[in-house]
């Protein structure tokens, strides 16, 4: 019941009701928050009957988890893969986010759901740790003295900018970028642009797609 779009016999009618539901959740959960968005409103926006929605998702909780999992990683997406940038530039590029997103949805979900055991909360935790690991990998590639520490620090800056942007209603990412520049300069022992360092992969790659602010 998880896979559709091409059923067991190749049928398809509404052309992806599930996709419309997820798409609507992307918009409404981010615009209004999770708790303030009812299933009635969501189904109406998705042009899907409530009955159908509950055939695709066992409940709102599962939909929320899927909403986070399928969140379009458009903000940070590709930053870590840009080979045209040096590792150091890649680290700084993580703070060049357009002032579009109102709040990192992972933080929002963790606060709104208020339950660390909720699947969405667990995924948010995994995601944040994956981002920190990716940053640490890049920091190691850039030749940082303590890449793990630098990755965690940069991740904290991203979250701080996101939270502060939300509370103050003003873009806080430039401030975070300024701090990041200082930290990076302090951590990289001066002109070690690209070190082969074949001992990469100690932290492993991110198990989830990396994206979002």
């Amino acid at each position: 019941m998880t896979e559709l779009e091409k059923g067991p016999q190749g049928r398809r009618r509404g052309r992806g009701a599930r996709e419309r539901i997820i798409s609507a959740s992307q918009q409404l959960f981010r615009e209004q928050g999770i708790n303030r968005t009812g299933m009635d409103q969501l189904c109406a926006a998705a042009q899907v009957s409530k009955r159908t929605a509950y055939q695709h998702f066992t409940g709102k909780d599962e939909l929320v988890a899927e909403y986070l999992r399928r969140f379009d990683p458009s903000v940070l997406s590709g930053v870590f893969d840009r080979t045209d940038l040096t590792p150091r530039e890649r680290l700084l590029a993580a703070f060049d986010v357009p002032p579009t997103t109102p709040l990192c949805p992972y933080i929002g979900a963790a606060v709104e759901l208020h339950d660390p055991q909720h699947p969405a909360s667990q995924y948010a935790r995994d995601y944040k740790e994956a981002v920190a690991a990716r940053l640490a990998d890049t920091a190691r590639e850039a030749g940082a003295a303590e890449p793990e520490q630098l990755g965690e620090q940069l991740a904290l800056l991203i979250d701080g900018a996101a939270a502060r942007t939300r509370v103050l209603n003003a873009d806080a990412f430039p401030t975070a970028a300024a701090i990041a520049a200082v930290l990076i300069d302090n951590a990289i022992p001066a002109s070690s642009p690209r070190q082969p360092s074949d001992d990469r992969g100690t932290t492993g790659s991110a198990p989830v797609p990396v994206g979002g602010q």
Copy 2:
């Protein structure tokens, strides 16, 4: 109708129902969140009838705003006033918070209410700006080159630690403190422990009590 405890003729019966309501909101809103705490539960915890509660507060929104306004600033309280510490030590002491509080209530309120026009959201914004101003004042006192910038940076670190602590379920304040130490060392031009600098007060003092993480 705002003042009681001594009515127009000097009457008083329940000995501060309003205080009990606010006290209960402090506990429940922080433990469970705002949206997940109903007025029924809150009134029961405060040992106050619902009828009485709605005679003191026109609605839950007003109570939420008052909850933030009256929030016991126990975490950062007094940090800025500790004359036994140097300004530099005071800045660092802001990150020595016991891992008690689950989340800065101002961030939580801003996320949960999801409405920048809500009185509580506006107060949260004022509060965060006041904290940054206080940090900037202390940074100026410590002889920082650009105190405004340092204050904003340290405030971002505090918020980042709070948000990240919530999402990861792990104390992120040590990481923030480490960053703060780097920033402070970079901003203070080496051994300017206490500069008279009578040009203080350009940013003005905080209009609200400063406290909380």
